[in-house]
Amino acid sequence: MAEETKMERAIARAFRPRRRMSRRMFLRQSGRGAVIAGSALTLPAILAACGIGPAGSGSAGASAGSAAALPSAPAGTLDFANWPAYIDIDEETGDYPTLAAFEEAEGIDVTYTEAINDNEEFFGLVQPDLAAGNPPQYDLIVMTDWMIEKMIRLGYLSELDHSRLPNFDANALDLYKDPWWDSGNAHSVAWQSGITGIGYNPTLTGREITTFDDLLDPEFAGSVGMFSEMRDTMSLTLLSLGIDPEEATVEQAAQARDKLLTPAQAGQFRNFYGNEYYDELANGNLALTIAWSGDVSQMKLYDNADVEFVIPESGGMLWVDNMAVPNGAPHPLDAHLMMNFWYDLESAVPLTEYVGYFSPVSGVADRVLEDKEAAEAEGDTEWAAALEVIAETATPSEEALANVHNYRRLTEEEEAEWNDLFNEVVAG
C-alpha cells in the first residue's frame, strides 16, 4: 500500500506545473522587456499604420484608366489564367492544340494555368496586389461580366489598345460589342459565354426537371447541388420568385434568402459548390444541381452520357466571361496578340467545338453545324454525334435566349448586404 501511495504522489507531482522562474527573476526579466517595448512605438501607433489603401493607391494604379503604351515587340512569354475545362484539349496527349498553334505562329511561350475556380475567390487572391500596385502574376485573366465591371470600377484592369485587336473589331458578334459591363470594350473582350441553369441526371431524378423549384423538392433531399457563387444562386432564386435579378432590391434578395434557408437547414442541399459540382454530378453524387450550360455538354461527351441541361421555366442567367489584362501585367502586348488570336474564326471554331459554350466570334455557330453535317456526310458518326451534343449548348435557340437574364450591377454596399444574406444560406 505504501508503495502505491508513493507512486500516486509521483503521478500527482508529474501533473502539477513546476515553477521554473522565481518571482524575482520574473520581475527582472519583464523589466528588461518593458524597456525594449517602451523605446519602440506605442501599440495604437503601430496598429494605425496598418491601414489598407483605397483601390488604385499604388504606383501602377495611378496609370489606371489611361491606355498604357504597349511595348513595340512581344516579350515572348505570357501567363494566362483561365477556368478549368475551358479550352480545347487533345484527349490523348493532354496538350492544348489551338494554344500550341498560337505559340508556334507568334513565337510566344504561353503558361496556361487553370487557376480560376470562382470569380470572387480569384479576385480575393489577386486583390491585395492589385490594390497595392504590385505587378500581377498573370498577364491575361478570364472573369465574368459583373466581375469585370467591378474590377474596372476599382481601376484594376488596364485599358486595351484596339489597334492591336483587328480581329475583334472585324469578327466579334454585336451582342459582345460595347457590353453593359465595359463600355466600348475598353478593358475586356469576350472569351466565351453561357447560361446558368440546371444540370440533372434523369436516371437519378426519375423524371424530367423543368423548374427551379424542382431543386427544392424534398424527394431529392441530400442530392441537390447549389453554387457557392452568390450571384448565380441568388439570381436564379429571385427569378423563381418572379423577380428580375437585374432590378432586385435588398428586400427582395432577403426574400430569396428566406426561400433557400428552410430547405438548406433541412439538409436539402448536399453542398454549395464551385467548379467541383462538375465531378459530383458526373459521378452521380448529385441528382440535380445548378450548372453551367457548356459544362453539361462536355460532361455528356466525356464523363456521363446521361446528364441533361435545362433552363428553368422561370429563367436562366446569361453570363459572358471576358479576357482582360490586369494593371501592371508584365507582358501586355503578348496578351493583346493572344486576345486577337481567339477572334480568328479558325481558332474560335475548335475552341467552341470542344468547350460547348457560345462563341463571341461571328460564324462559329454556323461552322459547328456545318462541321456536323460534313462529318455525317463523311461517315464520321462519332464526331458528328459529339458535335450534335456540343451544338445543343453552343448554338442557342431564339427561345432559349429569350428566357435568360443579366446580373444586377451591385454597388459595393448592396454587394455586402447580399453577401451577408447569402452567407446565412451557405453556412449552417
Binding site: F15, I46, G124, L154, G267, F269, N285, G428
Partner: protein, 283 residues
Amino acid sequence: MPRRWRWLIPYLFLIPGGLWLLAFFVVPMLVMASVSLQEGSLGTGYALTWNFGVYPEMIQQWAPQFARSLWYALVVTVVTLAIGYPMAYTIAFRGGRFKSILLLLVILPFFTAYIIRTLSWKLILADNGFLFGTLKDGGILDEGFRIIATPLAVISGLTYNFLPFMVLPLYVALEKIDPKLVEAATDLYASRVQAFLRVTLPLSMPGVFAGSLLTFIPSIGDFINSEILGSRATTMIGQIIQRLFLNNNAYPEASALGFMLMAAVLGLVFVYARVVGADQLTR
C-alpha cells in the same frame, strides 16, 4: 568573449528565432489586429476607426460554427489519441527491427499533398464509387447510404490527416522509457495493467501533451476537410474566415474572427497546460 559579457550568450542564441517570430508572428498579428478594427470598402480603402463592435457582432453571427469547430477538434484529438497511442506503443516496444520501417509508414502520407490526400478520400468514399457502389450493388448497404457530406466524413478526414502528429510525439516519449522500469513494477507485484497505468502512462504524458496540441490546434482552424468532405451542416470557422476574406473581401470581419480563433486556442492551451502541466513538454 570576456567573462562579464557571458550572460549575453543565451540571448544571442535567441536572436534568429526571435527575429523569425517577430517577422512571421508578431507583425502579422499586429496587422490582423489593426485590420479587424478598420472600416471602409475596396473603393475607398480602409482606415482604423477602432471599431471594436465587430468582435461581438462576429461572435453573435458565427457562434455555432465556432462551437462546432471546437467540438470537432476535441473529438479528433480524443480519437487520434485512442488510435495513436496503441500504434506508438506497439512501434516503440514491439517494433524491434521494423521500428524505422513502421515509423516511415506513419510519415509516408506526408509525401503526398494534404489536399490530394483529402480529395482521394472523397473518391474512395464516393456514394457510388468502387467501395460503396459495390456494396450497394451487393445489397449490403442501403441505396441512400453515404459518408461524404456528413460530420463523420469531416471528423474522419481530420483524424486521418492529423494522426501522424499524434503518433510521432507519443513514439518519442514512449521510446525513451526504460523497459526496466516496467519490469521493476511487475517485480513489485504490479499487474501489467497497473504497471502501464502507474509507470508507462505517466512517463509518456509529455508525448500525450505535445500530440494533443499538435492535433487540436490545426484541427480547430482547418477549412480543407469540411470544404471537401463536408456539407453546409459541417461548416467550420476556418471556412467562414476563408469565405469572408476571399469571397466577400470582408477583411475586418475575417481578421476579427481569425484573431478570436487564435485567442480561443491560446486560452484553451493555457488551461490545458495548467491541468496537465506545461513542464511535461520540456521534461
